[in-house]
């Protein structure tokens, strides 16, 4: 057994670490520490800087402008990204649409869209969920009816992350009501400024605007914007779900957040002593740290299997379940440390210790982790069926 990185990998790690140290803006780092979302402009500027370095799309092959990294390199990159205090960035175009276009897109679609994802000229949002569909994604109702060279789209999407920042959306639409409900779904690209498309904000319980509803009223979309075949939408969506994700467990960020948690506990007192000296707090931190260590090694085992050529399977469900549990536990402890400073709401940095003032927001937002992207309950259904063979 050998978990050491190779000399080349270690050199890579050093190179990445140095680059982040040289290039990450201090205010972006600070926002990330506080668990705050950067502005659209900040994020675009940062992602363009990453793209100049060729590192914006770690999972893309070189032919499409990616770095062509191995799974291990991508893992190392994410580790260093988090350690440096850099945000994950908005990855719908990079992580979701890019791989879809590479696998299912026409040459024109690839040529048009992939470079614009890297240059950040396009900001993509994902239109999957609908009011009422929830975890039962295949029940979606937004219709796309052919009419000449176009589809006419009617319906609505919900929980659309950063639709208010995006200029394009990839979405699942219903092109047929025949047969199995999965069979009538297609994958469509829509410009956000198309007439009849309206975005309405949803404020989350952390008080922030991350999410939106998107309404379509007779929105005309060129047929050239169909990805794959009509009715192939479900296949494409499933392709993405089982697409290998080395970082779904969020280990790198949880390690950083655990460090922030310890700093919070060291800097704040209870009964005149730093809370980090309180055995009660130490025990709870110890519990999370041990859980995170186990998660890290489950992640490494999956990575090692991938490196050894094994196709990734439903392990990502497992990693997501355990990863989100750790994320939630960390934010819950942040609230515990905050104590009375959990009361001030969205006061920014001007009232009380800033890390503490943001603790409740982080805790609230982290509740989404076990809901979105397949709830805990759905993940367990998947595991029961696929890994355990329970029907």
């Amino acid at each position: 057994m050998n978990v050491d990185f190779s000399p080349a990998e270690l050199e890579f790690q050093q190179q990445v670490r140095q680059w982040f140290a040289d290039n990450l803006p201090a205010d972006l780092k600070r926002k990330n520490e506080l668990g705050k979302m950067p502005s659209r402009d900040e994020l675009v500027a940062w992602q363009r800087k990453l793209n100049e370095q060729g590192w914006l799309a770690p999972g893309w092959p070189e032919e499409h402008g990616g770095p062509g990294w191995t799974a291990t390199q991508r893992y190392i990159f994410d580790l260093e990204r988090a350690r440096a205090g850099a945000p994950i960035g908005l990855s719908m175009g990079i992580v979701m649409l890019g791989p879809v276009l590479m696998a299912f897109g026409t040459p024109e679609q690839k040529q048009t869209y992939l470079p614009r994802i890297l240059s950040c000229d396009d900001w993509w949002c994902q239109g999957y969920s609908e009011p009422g569909s929830g975890s039962d994604l295949a029940s979606l109702k937004t219709s796309a009816v052919p009419d000449g060279d176009s589809y006419v789209v009617n319906g609505s999407k919900i929980w659309t992350t950063y639709a208010h920042y995006a200029n394009r959306m990839f979405c699942l639409v219903r092109t047929s009501n025949e047969g199995k409900k999965q069979a009538g779904i297609s994958f469509l690209l829509i410009d956000m400024d198309t007439p009849g498309l309206e975005v309405r904000p949803i404020i989350s319980i952390d008080g922030e605007h991350h999410l939106n509803e998107v309404f379509f009223t007779d929105v005309r979309v060129p047929k050239a914007n169909l990805v794959g075949q009509e009715g192939q939408g479900w296949t494409i969506a499933k392709y993405l779900l089982t697409h290998e994700r080395t970082t779904i467990a969020g280990v790198a960020d949880s390690k950083v957040n655990l460090g922030i948690l310890k700093a919070m506990a060291a800097e704040n007192q209870s009964n005149g002593k730093p809370m980090l000296e309180d055995p009660r707090i130490r025990r709870r931190i110890a519990q999370v740290e041990i859980d995170l260590l186990a998660l890290e090694w489950t992640n490494l085992r999956t990575l090692a299997a991938t490196a050894a050529g094994k196709a990734p399977g439903p392990e990502s469900s497992n990693l997501k379940l355990a990863g989100t549990a750790v994320q939630q536990a960390i934010t819950e402890l942040m609230v515990e440390i905050a104590g009375p400073w959990a009361w001030p709401w969205q006061t920014g940095d001007y009232v009380g210790p800033p890390e503490l003032a943001h603790a409740v927001e982080r805790y609230n937002f982290a509740r989404a982790a076990t809901i979105y992207g397949g709830s805990d309950e759905v993940q367990k259904n998947v595991l029961a069926k696929m890994m355990l063979g329970l029907k």
């Binding site: 009422g132 709870r284 009375p340 969205q346 006061t347 009380g352 609230n364 309950e377």
Partner: protein
């Protein structure tokens, strides 16, 4: 053995419940907290007229002289409605501090005004470093002739933006953690040298930090012995915690009921999600959590008046309700899914309110530690 409510208790509970149902819907509340001053002066007047502001205050001074069991009939529905009006800060915390610590004259001056709603008072005892420990007082009160000069900062004072008077804990003698040497002082909100920095709180109400720079108050502003205010302060915090537990039970019951209703109607995979066994068992666990919390609060209502039993019963109640509130609130959001994560729905607001409850007057986990150290 009889655990049913008295007729008087039933009447008051029904009245409060009716008010919440008719006048304090989630939408109505949203309007209140979205506008200035952040609470409804009209509602406050109603509370006064219906006698609710006097429930825990002494009969001799405009109150009802109610026991905890009576007070719970008010605060449980308040919790279900997520009432933001400063009932806990003014009536329970400041009111109890005055009733327990003040002279007859001070009580006669202040309590009737609290009970009739003309005075909103707030208890300012927390400090930057103190967390929930009322002994940890660094704010100083220095005697100068017939006056005291107050210096320090009181932080996260619920109701501060609305308070006309503050009950401020300050050290007249002794070292930082000493139980002796803490005084309670009645300070006007518009006193020279007093500044309030106000903000919204995560539960929809408002609070503030109160900075005192050379604030001069007459010696008569001290509630009782200026070196022995901790007794009254503790009494106030005890009743505050008991009432917070009552509010939490009301909120838990409400959020449980909404979740139960939701899983019966919300469909996924063509069936109500309440038909899935894991969801059913989760609801059973939530139900058990609420009912068990109600049992604990019943216990507290019986034992609270006994000075030998109070601390133990109160600590146990906080631990139990805190653990169950956390569970119920988290599961309510989880089972509602995305919609439970939004500002639009009440679920997330209950979640935030119950999150703060878990911390209030010492976190669940801190209270467990206290119980382990002092009460087993």
């Amino acid at each position: 053995m009889d655990l049913t409510l008295s007729d008087e208790q039933k009447l008051i509970r029904q009245a409060v419940e009716r008010f919440i149902r008719n006048d304090y819907s989630f939408d109505a509340r949203k309007k209140i907290i979205g506008a200035e001053p952040g609470y409804s002066t009209a509602h406050w007047q109603t509370f006064a007229e219906l006698g609710w502001l006097g429930v825990p205050l002494p009969e001799a001074h405009g109150g009802f002289g109610g026991a905890l069991a009576d007070l719970l009939q008010v605060v449980e529905p308040f919790g279900a409605g997520m009432v933001v009006e400063p009932y806990l800060p003014s009536v329970i915390l400041a009111g109890t501090a005055i009733a327990e610590g003040g002279s007859e004259a001070q009580q006669a001056e202040l309590l009737p005004a609290i009970a009739d709603g003309t005075l909103i008072a707030a208890l300012a005892h927390g400090e930057r470093q103190s967390r929930f420990n009322p002994h940890d007082v660094q704010t100083s009160a220095r005697r100068e002739g017939d006056a005291y000069l107050l210096d320090g900062q009181k932080t996260v004072v619920p109701g501060a933006p609305w308070a006309q008077k503050f009950i401020v804990s300050a050290r007249t003698a002794g070292e930082r953690f000493d139980a002796e040497g803490i005084g309670l002082f009645v300070v006007d909100a518009d006193a020279a040298g007093l500044q309030v920095d106000s903000y919204r709180t995560a539960d929809g109400a408002r609070a503030g930090n109160v900075t005192l720079q050379q604030v001069r108050v007459p010696a008569s502003a001290a509630l009782g012995d200026p070196a022995a205010g901790l007794t009254a302060l503790t009494a106030a915090l005890d009743l505050g915690l008991a009432a917070a537990c009552g509010e939490a039970l009301g909120a838990m019951q409400a959020v449980y009921q909404r979740t139960l209703d939701y899983v019966k109607t919300r469909k996924q995979f063509d069936v109500p999600i309440g038909s899935f066994q894991v969801i059913q068992h989760r609801l059973v666990d939530m139900f058990t959590a609420v009912e068990s919390s109600r049992s604990m609060l019943t216990m507290l209502a019986v034992r609270f008046a006994d000075p030998q039993e109070r601390a133990r019963a109160l600590t146990a109640t906080k631990v139990h309700l805190g653990q169950n509130a956390r569970y119920v609130a988290q599961q309510a959001v989880q089972l509602h899914g995305g919609i439970g994560m939004t500002e639009e729905l009440d679920i997330g607001h209950y979640f935030r309110r119950l999150t703060l409850f878990c911390l209030a007057f010492g976190s669940t986990d801190e209270q467990l530690e206290t119980y382990a150290a002092e009460h087993i």
